[in-house]
Subunit: 147 residues, 2 copies
DNA sequence: AATTGCATTGAGACTCGGTATCATCGCGCC
DNA sequence: GGCGCGATGATACCGAGTCTCAATGCAATT
């Protein structure tokens, strides 16, 4: 659904050169549904013999992060992962079973942040909320065989 | 205020052996106010010639995490850091200027999480909220010289 | 106080994510 | 088509964290 070309367009519009490697990484990213690590992409690129260097993948990921096409997640395990997302402020609920990620909007968080700012005296300029759990599909799937 | 011996007591009560290295790490940790990285402790241990192995420091940190004496933070930079804290569920506001961390309780977040769970259908079993900003002291200090 | 089992330790090798270097390449403007 | 500069890739490098394994020492027990 995200379509590689849409991503490529964004890269172009932002004034960055549209190169074959970037196109390739955009392709890999747009084919993903859940979260993935840089290593996942490197492995896939290698498996598909795309001939892209490791460093280039990292650079492309940084670029996509900067453009707001991707967001970095910190999984409970401490790993860093990426998810495709819309370039507006939001948060993610990540399924700890299948890795799928769903975007959510503010949902009242702004008020919570304001409360905290007032109570602590901090000037809060940045926050991160990450939620982990089991998505509807996985809940159903686990029905007969609970963990 | 945290006192090394209080930490040692917790370790003991939990059924773990109280060894010299663990005592030493407890000492290092209790002397800290803001957040710190594992590397910070390793460096300090080395500087003080405590003769503790690197691996041991990591193991001690893991132990303290497990006991709820420490919590792991993911800084916006992607670094992993630790902060001393109480072993009850809570969140942190981290000063991006001086590194100091303040604990905060729920502050209405629970309701937000419930809302999200209901909206998305996820069964949320874990969440993390991290806030970054400038603490009161640093705000005052920056008064005459804004960033 | 001596014995002893087993958790813990330390040194160092190893893995792995990410970055820096630098000569080469190729995108896109003219 | 030519050209400048941004982008690339091979490789070396770095730093965080883990693993291994023989040696150590805590603490329970007598």
């Amino acid at each position: 659904m995200p379509t590689t070309s849409a991503l490529v367009t964004i890269i172009d519009r932002a004034g960055y050169r549209v190169t074959a490697p970037r196109r390739a990484v955009a392709g890999l990213v747009s084919g993903r549904t859940g979260h993935f690590t840089a290593a996942d992409l490197v492995a896939e690129a290698r498996a598909r013999r795309l001939g892209i260097g490791r460093a280039t993948i990292f650079r492309a990921l940084d670029l996509l992060l900067e453009l707001g096409i991707l967001e970095r997640l910190d999984l409970p395990s401490g790993e860093h992962a990426y998810v495709r997302c819309e370039p507006i402020h939001h948060h993610h609920v990540v399924c700890s079973s299948c890795g799928r990620a769903t975007e959510i909007d503010d949902a009242g968080l702004r008020a919570v942040v304001d409360t905290i700012a007032e109570r602590t005296g901090y000037e809060i300029d940045r926050h991160r909320l990450e939620l982990f759990g089991r998505c509807p599909d996985c809940r159903v799937a686990a029905e007969g065989a609970p963990s």
